[in-house]
Amino acid sequence: MTRPNIVIVHGAICGGCDVALANSVEAISKFLENFELAYWSVAVDSRLSDLKSLNRIDVAVFMGGVRTSEDEEMAKWLREKSRILVAFGSCSAYGGIPGLAALIPPSELVNSVKSTITTSSQGEGVIELSKLPELGTYRALPHVVDVNIVVPGCPPPINVVNEFVDVLLKHISSGKLEGPLVVAGTKAQCENCPRKPRDLSKLQIPDIKRIYESRIEENKCFLEQGILCLGPITREGCEHSCINANMPCTGCFGPLPGFEDVGLRYIAGILALVAIEREKELLEQGLAKILDKLVDRLGVLYRYTLPWSRLYKLRLSLGSGGRAR
């Protein structure tokens, strides 16, 4: 019996997801044991023509977001040919870091790349980008085609990669999967957070601070120190790697089920609690001053999920591509 084949394809990607996959010895050995690795341009000698010559694909892993017309064509082609399509990494699943540029018109992006002087452009200031495919509206993979498995993380940590391989092996025999299966917990980061406050109902956020503004106390909830942490609305499964390194959660594991628009949920639930005990003393002006300290709203609230936000969809439906003012 021939082994099922697997292809690993890239959209707009930094390369971190490849490293994350290659980093897990367990995952790689299981892959090689159970699958025919038909295409993975960064790891095996294979060309796009090899990929295109395949008649049937059992598993297609898509890494990175859908940025160019080529990415979109590839995503649609993969969907057509493959039994199981996997959105691997936060860019592919939710939009990720490149998703933050989604509000900037593509022409402006290209111009700023062309006019930025780098060491390799040797001071000339204009870079030729003649072979650049056409940039389209930035989207996450599930907005372009239906996906079967979502592997979140920026990049997905080893335990999630291993779990993904197990999930894949379990489902490859049973045929096509229905609906996106997310390889992550369905509870919030806070649920098992090592810094969980004793009484969550009495959580107080005294102020809004940026990370450099204070010495972050270890073992105390970030929110209680005024550092915005996306833990309350982010799926668990990453084993709190950032939080254990004394950095707040930035939400790469994506929203909890039912919390798809991270920013709006965070405003409604967490930011409404800011300075809750001093409201009557600060009044509107005082509260506004505190809320103004949240300078980079999109970067904090939608760091990995901007293409999922309802306001972005509203913006797209308005049909005008102006830059956010």
Partner: protein, 134 residues
Amino acid sequence: MAFLCKWCSGAAAELAGVSRLLYSPNVIPIIVPCSGRVDPDLVVEAFINGADGVIVAGCHTPSDCHYIAGNFKAFKRVYLLKKLLSDFGIEPERLRLEWISAVESQKLKTVFDEFTSTIRILGPLRAETRGGSV
């Protein structure tokens, strides 16, 4: 679209009705238990479903709120949502927060009329003429 709290602004709207005050017919009032109940999602939902402007009105700060401090929650949410709207390139003037007490039916009328004319100047959110594509 106007979200009015049940205890103050909603009562002001009732009073405006009883007093036969004329205000712009474009406003669709919805009474909610408290302005603090107005989730940013509801406001965005209104915009997505074709509203050109949204008013959130509640009891005066600091101490009129029936639920003690719901109006402050409304303030924080609306304040941030307005900022977020402008981040996404949508005019923040399309969202307005007002404190209107149960007896201020005249203020309600003024706010509604003013807001309607502001929105009229801004034009519809979904104007065909905006043109261009992302």
